[in-house]
Every structure is written in structure tokens, then in C-alpha cells.
């Protein structure tokens, strides 16, 4: 039964307007939250940004001792945070938090587009190879 409801959902979703963008050359994930005000969209966005900030903050080292007690992600790998997106290095699994050259595989953009007319917030994850920038593609995405 659940598969038929998924099918129905997909058919409905295909007929709804969606964020407009060209075919992405790299892995792209877009999630939508419908029926949301601009204020609530902002809150959701802030929540994600706070979580990412916390993941990069200097923190306690695991199994610490008298010397090994503070974990630090160097400045080179700290995320860039703007009002619209977070730019970070991510791992082979496309999870953020990579803080060394050997674990940083992708340059990942986690961004948001809020479409006022649709009252819809689009959350975007776009992963390019680490020597490329995902920003131009993100900036080309627009509301329908």
C-alpha cells in the first residue's frame, strides 16, 4: 500500500512547480518544505547553520588526556557562512566536517532558496570536486 501512495505522491509532485535549474554536472539534492512562511523558513535555515557552526567549533577531544584535550579544525577548512548558503568541505560520504586534506573530497554547498509566491523553502545540497566551486550553479537556481 505504501508504494502506491508513494506513486501517487510522485505523480502529484511531478505536476507541481519546482525550483528551476540546469542539469547539474555534479551530485545535487533538493528538498522542499511547502506552506512555510518566510519567517519560519529563516528559522529552519538558522537551525541548520547553527548545527554546522557547532560541528566546526573547537571542541573536546575524544578520549582526552592532560594534553590531548582540544580538537581544532584549522582555518583552511572552516566553513564559509552567508545568508543564503554554507560552503564547506565534505567527506567521501558527502558529510560536512572534513578538516584535513585527506578526508576533504568535495566542496559542498548547503543553501536555501525561498520562493515567496509558492510559500516553499528549497534546501539544496550541491557537491563539486574540492577544487571547483559550487557557487555559480547555486546562484543560477531560481524560483519558478
Amino acid at each position: 500500500m505504501k508504494y502506491w501512495s508513494s506513486l501517487l505522491f510522485l505523480l502529484i509532485a511531478c505536476s507541481l512547480p519546482w525550483l528551476v535549474y540546469d542539469l547539474p554536472p555534479h551530485p545535487l539534492l533538493v528538498d522542499s518544505t511547502e506552506g512555510i512562511s518566510a519567517e519560519d523558513a529563516r528559522i529552519l535555515q538558522e537551525q541548520t547553520i547553527t548545527g554546522i557552526r557547532a560541528a566546526y567549533a573547537n571542541e573536546l577531544s575524544p578520549y582526552p588526556g592532560q594534553l590531548s584535550n582540544e580538537l581544532e579544525c584549522s582555518a583552511e577548512f572552516q566553513p564559509v557562512i552567508t545568508d543564503e548558503y554554507v560552503l564547506a568541505y565534505s567527506t567521501i560520504s558527502k558529510g560536512v566536517g572534513a578538516c584535513t586534506h585527506d578526508t576533504a573530497k568535495y566542496r559542498t554547498l548547503i543553501g536555501w532558496k525561498y520562493c515567496e509566491e509558492l510559500k516553499t523553502l528549497y534546501a539544496i545540497q550541491y557537491h563539486t570536486p574540492k577544487n571547483e566551486s559550487p557557487i555559480p550553479f547555486f546562484e543560477s537556481m531560481r524560483c519558478p
Partner: protein, 637 residues
């Protein structure tokens, strides 16, 4: 185009009906060995009925962890099927070239430490719906559509650690020092407070305010008996009256999560437990905060769903460094909290399987490790513990009953998965490592100071200040000695040349000849050059020290430095698991039980390696993968 989607979805739907599910329960530190923790015998005797069912329907045996025999390395190994020299998690705290040694560069519990995608990511990429509960190495979250319920020490989310509040006592505070802070550095896990005389209704009382995470909790310790004598025996907190040993109901509270300059309010709850009240009014009260909130689950809604349907989360007992090890009353508080965590995890497993119906459910609980490395059990139940003969048989039986009660509750969690597993479900029970007695700490940095290789002074708080410029040798956790003849200051780079090799050899000889002055036992099994660690320990060369030091079971390395330069000290905790080569130490072994489609009913004749588990499970899922393990053909139909 739309109709192509319809056809595609129908095909997928048909395929999904036949897809195999995986339920994998990995309790942390669940020791199983043929001699002392005879888990399979306990199951056959009827103490662990669900594990017995799994043994009767599937395959079972022992599994051996990889060095350095602890959680982050072995969770990465279990869930990638490769050794640390490939997945990169060589340890908990890791250092890399180009970064200073006084800061940890890579945290082994973070999902970002791995260079290989773990099982849960692979399964999600395969289209499976995945749910993770308390999994080390799973945060920051790597799943996009799946469910991640907190990890452990992955540096993600608003974690509010349980805190003990104790009547101010200058002697105790001085003694405990840094040991009262999370990880010796973070928020205090024990706080020392003062009280003022007051009245609680008509009773003589002492009033105190317990402040933590931006919230204040008012508490009255009072004398409940109206007689001539003042003997404090009760605590009043938020309208609830508690005696020693009692815990309150969960009480709503708003805590503050500080992230940089931001202060974020978090609506949550806490439970108060009165560990001890002395008639004089001296008290020891523990506030346990709900271990989940919207910042610790992805999606965020999972936190409120779990809190509502299962209850506030008790993830595991105590913390690091352990706090429930100092007073006799701490033992009961530990047991009560351990059972609460096991009960929560049992209910949560059932709820998550019912509510979310994941194709893949992977679940960890830290409590077994916490119990077996605490003060109260391992040293007394394992004959290799120096404390073993300090109690009588009746006392030992009592301790064994307490350990067995923990295993029974693990079995209950297995039961929740077992009853929901169908003919297409692979059900797995395994663990990352066992635990063995800890008889002596070895302060390697004091050894290096005695040799003139490490230079430090102690500040006014008794904290060491390293002269990194002059120091040429230092031990850093868990198993690494860093050596540079020109000094260890600045960004670390690996040394080379004859001067380096000479110094390294001198350090190796000093380690190998180290001897406990009382027992004459030698704690160092081996000290491997960094060049050799891939061959001997399956570790990567870029995340280890110049020497990697393996200890004999019974000993544990620590970084502590002291004015007296004493090397061997007696620990308060009696269990441990770090930096041991587990192949010849059965106390470090773990159970491996697997049942489901394609698995035949058999007992493994010899222990397997952790890398074999992932390899075999992928084979059962008809996935061809490159791993370091072998497919256990002997258990396949």
C-alpha cells in the same frame, strides 16, 4: 515522461517487496569470551533467551577487534570492512603533519574522520531507508533521507551532560581537580556548591541553587523528622521530595546551548537523583538531562517523537572521565542509571522499528562499556584483576548478578528486533570490543621527563605546561609517542635521519625495559616504528606517532604528568580496553551472531575478525565489495 516514472516506480515497488532488511545491534563493550564472560553458555542456560533463539537459528562465534582495540577504530572497521590503514580512523584523538601536537587534528568519533563510506551510507545510496540510533561515527549526519538519532562525541548538536552537584568540600575539589570536567576540559561533570540555612515549610533546611547550562534549579535539603535533633534526610526539588537513592520524575527545563556568540534556548527536561545525603546536610545530587533534543536528531522532529512516545532519553550511564566512582553510594546510582538507559534503548528500538519501518536499523548503546570499565565490577569478577581476591565469593556472586542483569537487558533489546524480524531480515548482534581488568596506569610522560626528553613545569593549579621547544619526546593518547630531535614545537612534521633514528631507538629501548617496581611485570608488549604499523597493526602511517606502543592487558597508558615523576599508579576504575592486541587476549573478544536469509545454523569454530562481518553481510545482500575481510562461507547456505 510522467508515465515512464510510473513504470519505473512500479518496477521499484515490486523489487522492494523482496529486498532484504538488516537489523544490526552493536552494544559498545559487550565482552564475550570462552573463559570468563561465557555469553553463549549463559544463553544456553536460559539467561539470554533471545540470544539463544538467534544461536538456534543462525551462526555464532567470537569476533576479534582491531588495534587499538577501542570504539572509534572498531566501529569504523565493522561498518566499512577495512582496516584503519584504509578507513583512516587510527584512534580517538589523531594528529597529522602540518598541525601542532598540542591540538587534536582529527576526532575519531566524527563521521568526517573516515576515508571510506560506511555501511549506512552505502545502504542509503542503494535506496534503502536507514535509521541509526546512538551510533559512533554517524555524526555530523551523513544520511540525507534516513534518520540519525545522536551519535557520540561527534561534535554535533546540543549535548547536555548529566552533572553531579556536591556540597562544597575544598579537600575533594582539590583532589579531583580536572577530573570533574567532561574530558578534563569541558563543562564540569561535578560542581561544588554552597548552601544557606533556610526553612522548608516547617522543617529546618539548607537551600542551594544548582546552576548548569544557563538554568537554575532550587533545592532544599531538609530534616523531615520533627524532633530535637537536626539530621538532614530529604531533598525537595520542584515540589518532589526525595530520600537518598531516589530519583524524581522528569521535570521540564529550558537550557542554553552556546554556539560561538549565539545562545540558543533548548526546551528539554531533567531528572534529579539523590545519591547521598549526610545528616550534617552534606549532599551529592545528580541532574540527568534528556539526551535528545531537536538539535541532536535528523530530522529534527524525531527528537520530539521519541521523547513523547518513548520518554526522555537516557543514552548511557556516567561519562568520561567517570564521576560515579568515588563514593559507595555511586555504585547504586550507576546501576539505576545503567538500567534506565537499557530500558530506554529497548523501548526506543521497538518504537523506531514500528514507527519508521526502516530497511536498515543500526543501534548502539554505550552502557556495557561504561559498566565494564567502571570501578565496581571488572576488577572483581575477572581473575586477572588485582581486586579479584579482595572480596569473598558471596560479594563476587552479587557483582556477577549485576553484570548478568546488564546482559539480560541487552538480550531484551535483541528481543525487540527479533520479534520484528521477518524471513527477509538479517539480524546481527556484535560489538566493537571487550574489556579487561585495569591494574596499573603507566604515566609514560613521567618516564620521558625522567629521561630528560620531555620538559614541563606545573602551574599554580597543578596543570602541566610543556616546553615544546626543548621537548623531543612526548606520549599522546592512545598509543603514540612523537619524537623529534630538534624539538616538538610548532606544526609537527615527521623527522628523519640518523639523529632521529638513534633517538627513536633509545625511546623504544626505554619503553621495552620499563618494569613495574612491585610486580616486575613489563607493560610494553611492542613499540612499532611508524613505517611498520601497516604491516603489524594495520594502521595508516599518516595518523600515528613515531612509535606506536602496545600495552599488556592489565596496564593502561595515560598522559598524566606529576611533580614526583612517578610512572606506575593505581587507578580507581578497574576495567579498560585500549591499545591491546586482541588476538591473544580473549577478554577483548566480542560476540558475533547472525541469522536470516542465506545463513545456516552453525557455530564458528574459530574467532573471526571484525572486517569479516561487513564482508559477509554484503555478500548476503548480494553486493560485491572490496574489503579486507573474507566472506564467511562456512556460515552460508
Amino acid at each position: 515522461m510522467k508515465y515512464a516514472w510510473v513504470v519505473l516506480l512500479l518496477l521499484l515497488a515490486c523489487q522492494q517487496e523482496q529486498e532484504t532488511k538488516v537489523y544490526w545491534f552493536v552494544p559498545d563493550g559487550m565482552r564475550a569470551d570462552p573463559d570468563v564472560f561465557t555469553v553463549f553458555d549463559w544463553a544456553e542456560q536460559g539467561h539470554l533467551p533471545n540470544i539463544k533463539r538467534m544461536m538456534g537459528e543462525g551462526a555464532y562465534g567470537y569476533s576479534i577487534p582491531t588495534f587499538p582495540s577501542h570504539t572509534p577504530t572498531n566501529f569504523a572497521t565493522l561498518f566499512t570492512g577495512v582496516y584503519p590503514d584504509k578507513h583512516g580512523v587510527a584512534d580517538g584523538p589523531m594528529h597529522v603533519e602540518g598541525r601542532p601536537l598540542n591540538k587534536v587534528a582529527v576526532g575519531g568519533f566524527s563521521s568526517a574522520a573516515k576515508k571510506v563510506s560506511p555501511f549506512w551510507v552505502t545502504m542509503e545510496q542503494d535506496g534503502k531507508h536507514v535509521a541509526l540510533l546512538s551510533m559512533p561515527g554517524s555524526t555530523p549526519p551523513e544520511l540525507n533521507k534516513g534518520i540519525t538519532v545522536r551519535g557520540r562525541w561527534g561534535g554535533w548538536g546540543a549535548d547536555f551532560h548529566a552533572t553531579i552537584f556536591q556540597q562544597e568540600d575544598n579537600h575533594t575539589r582539590y583532589e579531583r581537580g580536572r577530573g570533574s570536567r567532561l574530558f578534563f576540559f569541558g563543562p564540569p561533570l561535578t560542581k561544588y556548591v554552597n548552601s544557606t540555612s533556610a526553612n522548608w515549610t516547617t522543617h529546618k533546611a539548607e537551600r542551594t541553587v544548582l546552576s548548569q547550562y544557563g538554568a537554575n534549579v532550587e533545592v532544599y535539603v531538609f530534616d523531615s523528622v520533627d524532633d530535637e535533633e537536626t539530621r538532614f534526610d530529604r531533598v525537595s526539588i520542584h515540589g518532589q521530595t526525595l530520600a537518598e537513592g531516589e530519583a524524581s520524575e522528569w521535570i521540564p527545563i529550558t537550557l542554553t546551548w552556546q554556539v560561538g556568540e549565539s545562545r540558543i534556548p533548548v526546551e528539554t527536561s531533567f531528572q534529579a537523583r539523590v545519591i547521598k545525603i549526610d545528616p550534617s546536610g552534606w549532599f551529592r545530587i545528580r541532574l540527568f538531562y534528556n539526551n535528545i533534543n531537536e538539535h541532536l536528531t535528523k530530522p529534527t522532529t524525531t527528537a520530539s517523537e521519541l521523547t513523547h512516545w518513548v520518554g526522555p532519553m537516557v543514552d548511557f550511564v556516567d561519562n568520561f572521565p567517570p564521576q560515579l566512582i568515588f563514593y559507595p553510594e555511586d555504585r547504586q546510582a550507576f546501576l539505576d542509571e545503567a538500567h534506565a538507559s537499557l530500558d530506554w534503548h529497548r523501548k526506543a528500538a521497538g518504537y523506531m522499528l514500528d514507527a519508521y519501518d526502516p530497511d536498515v536499523f543500526i543501534h548502539d548503546i554505550y552502557t556495557p562499556n561504561q559498566m565494564l570499565t567502571s570501578r565496581w565490577w571488572m576488577g572483581y569478577v575477572d581473575p586477572k584483576g588485582v581486586a579479584y581476591d579482595t572480596i569473598n565469593d558471596q560479594e563476587r556472586d552479587q557483582k556477577w548478578q549485576e553484570v548478568l542483569s546488564m546482559y539480560k537487558k541487552l538480550d531484551d533489546v535483541v528481543g525487540e528486533m527479533y520479534k520484528r524480524a521477518d524471513d527477509n531480515t538479517i539480524l546481527v548482534l556484535s560489538s566493537d570490543h571487550g574489556a579487561v581488568p585495569l591494574n596499573k596506569w603507566v604515566r609514560l610522560n613521567n618516564l620521558f621527563a625522567q629521561k630528560g626528553w620531555l620538559h614541563f613545569t606545573l602551574d599554580e593549579n597543578g596543570e602541566p605546561v610543556i616546553d615544546w621547544e626543548r621537548s623531543t619526546v612526548v606520549y599522546l593518547k592512545m598509543a603514540h609517542v612523537y619524537i623529534h630531535p630538534d624539538g616538538l614545537a610548532g606544526n609537527w612534521t615527521r623527522a628523519s635521519g640518523p639523529k632521529y633514528r638513534k633517538l627513536r631507538e633509545e625511546v623504544r629501548q626505554a619503553l621495552l625495559s620499563l618494569e613495574d617496581p612491585f610486580t616486575k611485570d613489563r607493560p610494553v608488549v611492542a613499540a612499532y616504528d611508524w613505517e611498520r604499523v601497516p604491516q603489524y597493526l594495520s594502521l595508516p602511517t599518516d595518523r600515528v606517532g613515531d612509535l606506536v606502543v602496545v600495552n599488556e592487558a592489565g596496564f593502561g597508558w595515560n598522559e598524566e604528568m606529576s611533580e614526583d615523576r612517578k610512572i606506575f599508579t593505581t587507578p580507581l576504575k578497574t576495567g579498560y580496553k585500549q591499545a591491546i592486541i586482541a588476538h591473544h587476549e580473549p577478554g577483548m573478544w566480542t560476540p558475533f551472531i547472525i541469522m536470516g536469509p542465506g545463513v545456516r545454523n552453525t557455530k564458528l569454530e574459530k574467532p573471526i575478525n571484525h572486517v569479516d562481518q561487513y564482508t559477509t553481510i554484503m555478500a548476503l545482500l548480494n553486493k560485491s565489495v572490496a574489503t579486507d575481510g573474507r566472506v564467511l562461507h562456512e556460515i552460508l547456505e
